[in-house]
Each structure stands twice: as structure tokens, then as C-alpha cells.
Symmetry: C2
Subunit: 223 residues, 2 copies
């Protein structure tokens, strides 16, 4: 597919858009690891800092949205560039919602930190690590147009779903054996559910990237 | 704000885009009521039909995405029309994910229908009704550029969150009193959580509509 705009300025602008998205991605990746660290290390001040970061992520979303609209209006891009910019518009929405989920995790961490710890957290940090890698790789696949990497992200989602299922089952046995653990178990379950939703956002991004690269839709054919 | 395109054809195309979005909205509204009806009336064949509808919704998403890209490439809209089309691109993503949530509800309904009913379902249908209205009104606010209606949707979300919290607390008491109810309670809780996510999607749409109408961002200032 040919580029309709060869202006160095437009290329620079697209590079800037890429950088803005990666910066926003870096911020939400920090929020993922930070919110789970606040839980695992029972660090409530860290949870508060993560909650405060949500505002910055929201501002980044507004800025990137506006930049995309400017580029569409002033540069009137076609073909590949058009697809790239419209996809950026969709991706910022996913990134912003990942920030929301991290805020939810940080809030649950604060509640859980105020009670005795139910169990050592092993699977949740593992799930958080995988999820963070998925977010990073989904964005890398976007900025480099790398559909192989995007396919890897989609496959990794199955693994995150498996860990989530495992956490769910383990918490169920806690609750059945001792009803005093139910409230804390439910909160931990919500943390896992939030991580699963973050992984879903990364998968959504990756599926859209595959669409962008291949020019046809496989979003609804990948299992 | 002035329209840069006065062509009757372009106006017709924008009307067609509105109709496509409303048709997709109508489909997901049916999926919301149908998936919850499958639970309440223990109608497993209906749950299967809802799950099968997800494919149609996915196809509608692809078609609307393509139409938006065509309009952006061929019509090179500016100002208000540009904002409208880029917002349509974001909204279809929300609608498609609402379809995914309905599929999740239908799957849980099938599992729950295979077991004795835990309790009469009262709050869940009420929550589903509100959620469906929110989705419908968020789309109406978009196609009519009605920011008052969009603000109503954002406010209604608080009510849905309250019902969700109430369901959550009631299920918690079931689980504490009788551990044999835990598995079913958790599934019902997931149904409520899916409805809450659908309401969140409607709220996201409404917030974006307010942004479109006002031309400034209040997405991150509404409580």
C-alpha cells in the first residue's frame, strides 16, 4: 500500500504520535506493577500514589485523542496512515481503561492491607507480570506494525485466563473451608478479575494490530 | 461550527452510518434482555441463541469500522463530521464488547440452569433493565447529539453500581450462611459484574458524546 503523504513533517508527526502512545503505555505498565506491588508488599502509600496516577493517564488520553483529530483534519491521510491514526484513537481508549483497572486494584489493595493477610500472594504477581508484558508487547506490535508479536499476545491471553481460573478455584476452597475468609477472598478475586480485564484490553489491541497489518479482519476468528 | 461538506450524498452517508450504529445497538440491547431472560426463566435454548448472536454483532462491528474508514478517506470531513465519525469508530468497539458480556451472561445462565435455583431473581432483571435503557439512551444521545440525555446516562450509572453492590452483599450473606451456595453465588455475582461492565460501556459512550457536543472534555471530571 502506497503512502499518500511523503512530507517529512507528517512522518515526524506520526513518530510523535507513536512516542505519545508509548509514553502512555509506559505509565499504565507502571500502574499495573505498582498496584500489585502495593498489595503484595502491603504498601498502602504506594496504592495511594497509583490511584493519583490515574489522573495523568486520563490527561494523556485527551491529548492523544486531540492529536489524532488534528492529524486527520490537517493531513487528510489515506490508506495505511489513516488506519494507523484511527487505530491509535481506539488504542488510547483501551489504555485509559487499563489505568482504571489499576486504580481498582490499588483500592482493593488498600482494603486488603487493612486486614490480616489471607495467604501468601504467588499467582497474582505472576499474573500481573504476564499481563504487563502483554500490554507492552501489544503496544510494541502497534508501533512497529509487527503482527507476529501481536499474535503472540493473543496466545498469551489463554495463559492469563488459566492463572485466573486457578486463582478462582483456590479462593473457592478457602471460602468453603472457612467462611471468615469470604470477604477477603472475594476482594482477591476482583483483583484477579481486573488483571484478566487488563489482559483482555491488551488482546483487543493486538487483534486490531493484526487487522491493521493484514488489512483484513481476524479479530473474530482467533480462538 | 460550520459543516465543510454540504453534499446531499455525504449527509445520506452519515445518516446511513447512524442507522448502522442504531441497528447494532438494537442487536446488543436484545442480547442484554435475552441473556438475562435465559437466566430468570431458566431457558437454556435461549441462552444458546444469544451466544450465537455474538457472531452477528462482530460482523456489524467490522462493517461499521470499514464504513467509517471509507468516509474518512473519501470525504475528508472536518470539524463536527470528523468528530462524529471518529466517535462512531470508538463506539462500535464498546458495542462489540457489550455483546461479549452478554455472551458471558448467557454462558453463566446455562451453568446456573443446570443446578437448583439459589433464589428468586429480582435485582438482576432490574439491573438488566436499567443497563439496557442506558445503552439505548447512550446511542440515542450520540445520533441526536443530545448532551442532556448523555448526562442522564452518566448519572444512571450510579444507580446500577448501587444495585450491583446490593446484589454483591446479599450473595455474600448466602455464602457465609451456607457454603454449598458459594459456587452458584459466585456465578450470579459474575452475571451482576457483567451487567455493571455493560453499564460502564454505556457511560463511556455517553461521556464521549458530551465531549463531542461540548467540544471539550468532561470525561474525567464527571464523578
Amino acid at each position: 500500500m502506497e503512502r499518500e503523504h511523503f512530507s517529512a513533517t507528517f512522518d515526524t508527526e506520526l513518530d510523535e504520535l507513536r512516542s505519545m502512545l508509548l509514553a502512555m503505555g509506559g505509565k499504565v505498565e507502571m500502574m499495573i506493577s505498582g498496584s500489585v506491588k502495593a498489595l503484595v508488599e502491603r504498601d498502602t502509600p504506594l496504592a495511594d500514589r497509583i490511584i493519583a496516577m490515574d489522573h495523568e493517564v486520563n490527561n494523556l488520553e485527551v491529548n492523544i485523542d486531540e492529536r489524532c483529530l488534528e492529524l486527520l483534519a490537517l493531513r487528510q491521510p489515506a490508506a495505511r496512515d489513516l488506519r494507523f491514526i484511527t487505530l491509535a484513537l481506539k488504542i488510547v481508549t483501551d489504555l485509559e481503561r487499563i489505568g482504571d483497572q489499576c486504580t481498582n486494584i490499588a483500592k482493593r489493595a488498600k482494603e486488603l492491607n487493612a486486614e490480616p493477610q489471607l495467604k501468601p500472594y504467588i499467582d497474582i504477581p505472576r499474573m500481573a507480570h504476564w499481563t504487563e508484558v502483554m500490554v507492552k508487547e501489544s503496544l510494541d506490535s502497534f508501533v512497529h506494525g509487527d503482527d507476529d508479536l501481536a499474535i503472540k499476545v493473543c496466545n498469551d491471553d489463554n495463559f492469563v485466563d488459566e492463572i485466573n481460573e486457578q486463582i478462582h478455584r483456590e479462593l473457592l476452597t478457602f471460602m468453603i473451608e472457612d467462611s471468615s475468609t469470604i470477604s477477603r477472598s472475594m476482594k482477591l478475586n476482583y483483583v484477579a478479575k481486573s488483571l484478566e480485564r487488563i489482559a483482555d484490553h491488551a488482546t483487543n489491541i493486538a487483534e486490531m494490530v493484526i487487522f491493521m497489518v493484514k488489512g483484513k479482519d481476524i479479530r473474530h476468528t482467533i480462538a
